[in-house]
Symmetry: C4
Amino acid sequence: LIFPYSRGFEPWNQLLIIWQTFWVVLVAYSGWSSPFELAFKKVAVEGLLPLDIVVDASFANDILLTFFVAYSDKSTYLLVDDHKKIAFRYVIHLGFPMDVASTVPFQTIFRIFDGKKQGEDVFGFLNLLRLWRLRRVNKFFSRLEKDIRFSYFWTRFCKLICMTLFAVHSVGCLYYWLATHYHTAENTWIGSNVTNFQERSISLGYTYSMYWSVATLTTVGYGDLRAHNTGEKIFSIFYMFFNIGLTAYLIGNMTNLIVHGIARTFAMRDAINKTVRYASKNILPEGIKEQVLAHLTLKFRTAELQQEEVIGDLPKAIRCSIAQYLFHTTLENTYLLKGVSEDFLVQLVSEIKAEYFPPKVDIVIQNDIPTDFYIVVSGAVEVVTYKNGMEQFLSKLESPGLFGEVGVIFNMPQPFTVRSKRFYQVVRISHHHFKQLLQPLNADGKIILSNFLQH
Amino acid sequence: LIFPYSRGFEPWNQLLIIWQTFWVVLVAYSGWSSPFELAFKKVAVEGLLPLDIVVDASFANDILLTFFVAYSDKSTYLLVDDHKKIAFRYVIHLGFPMDVASTVPFQTIFRIFDGKKQGEDVFGFLNLLRLWRLRRVNKFFSRLEKDIRFSYFWTRFCKLICMTLFAVHSVGCLYYWLATHYHTAENTWIGSNVTNFQERSISLGYTYSMYWSVATLTTVGYGDLRAHNTGEKIFSIFYMFFNIGLTAYLIGNMTNLIVHGIARTFAMRDAINKTVRYASKNILPEGIKEQVLAHLTLKFRTAELQQEEVIGDLPKAIRCSIAQYLFHTTLENTYLLKGVSEDFLVQLVSEIKAEYFPPKVDIVIQNDIPTDFYIVVSGAVEVVTYKNGMEQFLSKLESPGLFGEVGVIFNMPQPFTVRSKRFYQVVRISHHHFKQLLQPLNADGKIILSNFLQH
Amino acid sequence: LIFPYSRGFEPWNQLLIIWQTFWVVLVAYSGWSSPFELAFKKVAVEGLLPLDIVVDASFANDILLTFFVAYSDKSTYLLVDDHKKIAFRYVIHLGFPMDVASTVPFQTIFRIFDGKKQGEDVFGFLNLLRLWRLRRVNKFFSRLEKDIRFSYFWTRFCKLICMTLFAVHSVGCLYYWLATHYHTAENTWIGSNVTNFQERSISLGYTYSMYWSVATLTTVGYGDLRAHNTGEKIFSIFYMFFNIGLTAYLIGNMTNLIVHGIARTFAMRDAINKTVRYASKNILPEGIKEQVLAHLTLKFRTAELQQEEVIGDLPKAIRCSIAQYLFHTTLENTYLLKGVSEDFLVQLVSEIKAEYFPPKVDIVIQNDIPTDFYIVVSGAVEVVTYKNGMEQFLSKLESPGLFGEVGVIFNMPQPFTVRSKRFYQVVRISHHHFKQLLQPLNADGKIILSNFLQH
Amino acid sequence: LIFPYSRGFEPWNQLLIIWQTFWVVLVAYSGWSSPFELAFKKVAVEGLLPLDIVVDASFANDILLTFFVAYSDKSTYLLVDDHKKIAFRYVIHLGFPMDVASTVPFQTIFRIFDGKKQGEDVFGFLNLLRLWRLRRVNKFFSRLEKDIRFSYFWTRFCKLICMTLFAVHSVGCLYYWLATHYHTAENTWIGSNVTNFQERSISLGYTYSMYWSVATLTTVGYGDLRAHNTGEKIFSIFYMFFNIGLTAYLIGNMTNLIVHGIARTFAMRDAINKTVRYASKNILPEGIKEQVLAHLTLKFRTAELQQEEVIGDLPKAIRCSIAQYLFHTTLENTYLLKGVSEDFLVQLVSEIKAEYFPPKVDIVIQNDIPTDFYIVVSGAVEVVTYKNGMEQFLSKLESPGLFGEVGVIFNMPQPFTVRSKRFYQVVRISHHHFKQLLQPLNADGKIILSNFLQH
């Protein structure tokens, strides 16, 4: 698996990521098997031995690999791919001796030299060194949490489940180990329920261990399996203490996820509720109330389209590129801006604001002070006028229609009301910005004026 | 129940909503009966059979209905009511085969063909397919949560209770089923307490199941009913694991609801506390302290009337409509604005700000720089002046009284102090805006000036 | 206790509040005694009877009183003290019949007519009607929570404890009642532990009840006292269900209180941490680092003195009064403003900003652009100048010293550095505002100029 | 340990802080030993007696010391080091008699006078007065929580663990004490399990006590050790009540810590998610999408470098010092500003903004309106131009390169696009500020112009 890479792997190398993901599976197996083999020695010697050797080999492989993976320097934010630096950084780090120690198959080595099939406890405990590898699983989850391609909720959820399962499994196995090492089997938590429990099947022993472990973790505490001697009592005390912390941690995380998940619904409900209360306290007419509700509902449904909020914090150059991409064609095709210089268009585009309107909402109302004019990007609007209190339909505009420009150019109250017909998007150009842009560009000013007059 | 609608139902059709609500009741029954019939087979064959057939028929009906309900397209936000599109969308969806499978009454069909009254387990488990329908209950609650006509707290509360009840009920029934299928009845959780439990009444069995289930869920774990064989132990382990998650979820939701519910009280207390501490650190006189407290208390009591906060985010056209509706009449009747053009009024209305004052609070104080003038909308104010340190009462103003205009027009410090007499509302017109509006409207300027002079 | 008030009590009448507080004690007693008397009938007939009669009389009194207490109308925010309206509002309300029903001493009346000392269950349950009164305790706590004179934390804490105690007590008593009414005493939760439990002392029975109730609520569930018959099992199921909700509610409230209580510490730590990280990343010199930390620490220690944040949202008139009260004298005594007109001072005061500085921090630095000048309110500053890179001490200023005015008046870079000597407060006057104010007040301008030149 | 300090210790004296930390260890011992000696009297008389005397002596020492430690006055924020004031403040405080009472070794005194080795309960309870000292441990933790040198998470975590351990230990000891004082040993919680428990080893008794105490606190409640008489039942009830509160407090704290710890990850994910959704809804081209993501990722990775956010709230003088320190040299070396007066540089530095850009992002785009010009502080940029749609590389700039100045000085659209090559920092100088600064400094204006022309 180690290629003669001249300058080291980049940390985001595709092969490396696949290997690391596979590696996590191996580590998960290690985390499960180490305590299990300690408690049920027969397994370690027979069933799982070949698998253990394969896993250990993979880990040895991984240690070698670490010497070839470039890392990102913390102060300069640059990638270091010099072999010597990588090696030096890894070797002086605490992790290196621990990585090695967690990989050496002590038991197998001993057995080769000694020749006896002894499943002695010392090797069982040396095996627990392999749990050191779990440190990397934690890193793996941290990376996933920051990766927006994965749902934070499910990443966190899996992590919590893995943590809990590992705790329950380890403690159950250690508790079983305690029972097998007590002098009188009848006076142990399992021996007092199952006679000759050591001669029964592994699956029975494991079920009992897990049952006790889960029942204690969840604080159900049926009381059928319980500490019978001082050693077990002390072990239980520590486990129960640990459980308070774990439970609090689980609940805290869940609360956090729920609070975050519901925040948007709350925000929407609060905004709408506030407006509805305002409307009913002031006895606003139904028409206005409906426009307000339609606007708010649309705003929350199209939250991901709200240009201002989303890209407002980006640097100016990026914002310009986006606006250019989205609205340049529309502006070019508008009658008023036909033939103006490219420079003027570029500058104008960077000043416009995009807005969405639900159907049947007034955008410009008659007699309003002209502060902006609008270009239809999608959807359609209708232009109406009020004469003697009667509403008269004048025309219908579709993209790239322009409205509000009469008021802006003549600096007079808007002569028409403009109302949206379908869900649609407009860009708004500020009166103020428009005039400011025009001043130094006389040629464009003349083109615009002649466009307007011809229209 | 299916009418020959030519273009499909609209999703907000009244009849449809009634039907869907009724449907939720049926699904709730399904959720309850499926595990129950699995555990207590006698019931399935006798008592509940007719009801089951009715429910299955209703579900078949609902599947048909789905072909006639229009849906909202996700990208265009438009309603699709074309029969072919609706059908195509439904049939290619995973939901369709599951809907069908959860509706076919396998047991009844089998019995018709076979002729025997066999309550075999396979049918019990096939019945569990009906739980698929619960998916729709989840959707129902999601819709309710977004519907501002229903309290979020109680919707969520009901949902959590339903979830918990369903979990407890299902697990209890499955646990009973486990006991009835173990070879030695004495070595089961219920058989070790109740001899011949299978011949006892269904209600006794159900009570025991629920008692164990609830005692385990809540982690009370009395220990009187507990797993007696390996199968039951494994089942308990999974249930207890699930319970950690469920408990954390319940607590997380409750915390969220409480945090949200109390947020407003906290905000109020914090604001008032901060001000009181400021006042006492600076040893402010009692009079000022009381004005501050009165203002803050009013602000939080009339939070739903705060125009700025509530409608500040709405588009300009809607805000204008609201201001027009609320304040147009008051402005029209003010002496200063009598006879001005409608255009001017419309523009002025859209620039005004509404404010509320508690009783006995100064709004304008003598010698202050004139930045705004005020029109009384409701309540009353009194105008006083200080001469040689003595307060002299000058007059009392009620709606549509005007004050502060002398300072604004002559651009001199306010000559009077104006104090609120009762809880009331004013509109504030900015000096700056007022002048800006007047400039291009000479005729109106003259009318206002002559109004002012006549007054 | 009822005085012939002509227009009804005001709700904040001192006597009324004392009475209501006393009343809460009585209600608490009712809440405790009603379930207790149901379970332990002997007590109801003997020990507590006189007390019950007194309490019932007080409640009758309270019902009468309600007819005389004015209330605040919800739409007009006005106090209604018309007897007829008060009575009408109370009588048509659901509360009235329930209040009456919860006050009539059914048992005593029955005994008077019947003559027998029968403690029948029906009266025990009628007694539970008194729990209706607890509704008012809830209102009492809601009022306390909004009253800033009481700590929110402790109010909420007491409320939660009261709720929990009441739940535990009521359920314990009902559980005991269940045991006393089961046909075979040996097959009840208490009878299986204590033979002839009904002849034992009340205190023993109550202890057992409470012990079971608490052990179940807290989900400890030792299992020594547990349901022995179907009735008790069903009762336990409901109680355990209720407990999930109660526990979640308690935890949710506690979390909320903690989150709120720690928010300020978090804000402080975050702000300081952020700055320290910035300083160390940019390797800022120690001197600047210390000034920054001193500033931040002071800012959080004197949070209640931060004028801007605290009174920024108040209406302008109130803000003016406060500034007038705090800074008028200081301004008057400043050499530059001696002899200027009162009008000018009033206007200037309303434009100033107050700021606090820790010791040894630069306020004005040499060559800085003059945007503000400062008046020392308390503490002292020293004026230094840099010549050829050497710091030269020039003078020390105490209240009402003025600095930064040279740069402002001549519109040139600040000629001196000014550094704080002790923790102190300055007011800052903006260059811009100052000039704006001076323009229309020529006389004052001349006075200031002559003041400056004389100085 | 008491030196003849003439003016009292300052509270941040190094020796004092070491002493106080050592003191906390002694208090921790007191907290552990007081309940332990009450329960296991043999220990108090034999093993721990010398240690107790040493601890008491240290406490006496501390009381004396308190008279010499200066304190900070609450209203003036000044340090009071007058001996009389310190003594007066301490003596009139409730703490003084309690401190003394918690230090006197009543038992030892009594034994000296009486001569008998009586470990009577009254002395055991008098010993509990020593728990008063724990009040100071609380203060110690409060101080640590506000000290940014220590992680808040771990400080809080230790505090919670200490609290829980202390509660468990105390309650366990008191429960054991209850058992030793009950008339029939067989009818106690421990006596019913262990015959002659009083003659067994202390470690056995302590293990049983702790086992019960932890099992009850965590609500596991196995039921093997449980209350056997009324006294124990009542004690258990109170303990279980207390446990609800403690558990809720632990969970609340954990939730708070988690919510706070994850807040930044959430903020990052939300911001990126929002932008990604916007980009995909608007089908932005890959190039722009990548620039946006690179910008956002960098922003969160370099959050501690964001000048605006971090130092924006500091007073102007401090902000100037920082900008001066960071950017003065860079500005001085820029060709355009060579030879300008120091005054001008100082003023310019205080107006600049620092920004970071990821590699390959456009900073200035061609034809953009010139609002700012930029100076490269670190990293490098490349200048390109578009001609006939082709990109032409013009030059590469490194620190202290200047770009965007052509547009600013001639007030014309930017003639080039400038793109970052490596992660780097620029300072941005606003067009507007630059011109404003130049006006009154004619000499500098000429220098800059000649610099520009020579270039």
